[in-house]
Subunit: 221 residues, 2 copies
């Protein structure tokens, strides 16, 4: 059987690294990205496209921007600023989009499964667990069971190889795999350059510092 | 706590009956329908709107018609005829849309949950189990667990009160609840009148016969 996998890529560091990681492990990849009304959609999707082009893999962008107006989150709500500071803060809960990973995972899997691709890979990692419930091991395990039961096919697998490692560890893997991090986008603020202040930027900057490597991305002064 | 519930309504008999059933049980309802490129979308959605109007409940139609071209199913594939005959036939497997119920359920729940509505109701029933894996009790159970884990909220419940009864039983309930079945749509063929021949029509006709009641819908000669 061919080693095939559908992968959700956001244009961020984690899922981009995952794509290079799986390619290196010999998987033929089918990439899917989502526009769901997030303020940083344009930059993220540009990066996702660059990554898919560089890896020469098929890439589908699913437009779910209509969801933005239906859901109630600071990431999609135009009248609310994205909170600054580390993810630990209570306010960062406002960046939660209900069922986000579930919705993206099940649509991406449906697209791949229609072509006979059973596996689905997600870039969730250990550092996400604190406030994002849908990044925890028990969630990933239940998602796999649901996809199997949804299709009556026990061969369906959900891969999340970074589930127990953190962003710094992912960067360590990615630097060795030559991931072009200048083509990845992390900032939630949605401006031209990365803000360097939001929870997402803070984490990225810290990871590069811990790896003693210069981040190739430009930040606002 | 207010008795509230998000409900996925298709415009068909089962989910329409469910809406009247839950209203009768005292639930305040939030209805969500989907356009996913199905050939019978227009008729179905017209009926869903009539049902929501009649019940005076909020109704959101989510346009996911882009999925039609991405997925591989006779219900959405323009070059393939919808198979005729009873659901028992092997060919009816071509009417399966991968992860359909999962995708619709998780989006509908996200819309309701954004407004603080924890419960989700689905009109799946015992007669669906044979070929639709995502209508089986074990699927509904896993879906509830996934939604709970996705949001870290054990109070989330998935209601599927028709899970162990069949279409004829649903019709028995609905006739007593005065469901306006002339405003429900069942046919998969996507023409002006119901074809009376597809698996879906065959089931409907049989149910009305078993209830000794005239179906108020017009069928093709």
């Amino acid at each position: 059987m061919k080693k095939q996998c559908t992968i959700v890529i956001s244009g961020g560091m984690d899922s981009s690294t995952l794509a290079y990681y799986l390619k290196d492990k010999g998987y033929e990849l089918e990439a899917v990205s989502f526009s769901y009304g997030q303020k940083h959609a344009v930059k993220e999707l540009e990066c996702a496209k660059k990554i898919a082009n560089d890896l020469k893999i098929k890439h589908t962008v699913v437009d779910m921007s209509f969801l933005g107006s239906l859901l109630n989150s600071a990431l999609t709500n135009k009248d609310e600023a994205v909170p600054e500071g580390h993810y630990e803060a209570e306010t960062m809960k406002r960046t939660i989009v209900p069922n986000r990973n579930t919705i993206m995972a099940t649509i991406a899997h449906a697209i791949g499964y229609s072509k006979g691709i059973k596996n689905l890979a997600l870039g969730v990692h250990g550092g996400d667990h604190h406030i994002y419930f849908d990044c925890r091991p028990v969630f990933i395990d239940t998602l796999q069971t649901l996809l199997q039961r949804s299709n009556g096919d026990d061969e369906i697998k959900v891969f999340a190889p970074f589930l127990y490692i953190d962003k710094t560890d992912i960067l360590r893997l990615g630097l060795n795999l030559n991931v072009p991090y200048q083509d990845t986008w992390t900032c939630y603020a949605g401006r031209t350059d990365a803000c360097g202040k939001c929870g997402s930027c803070s984490e990225r900057i810290q990871s590069f510092q811990q790896c003693n490597t210069k981040d190739p991305l430009e930040y606002e002064k």
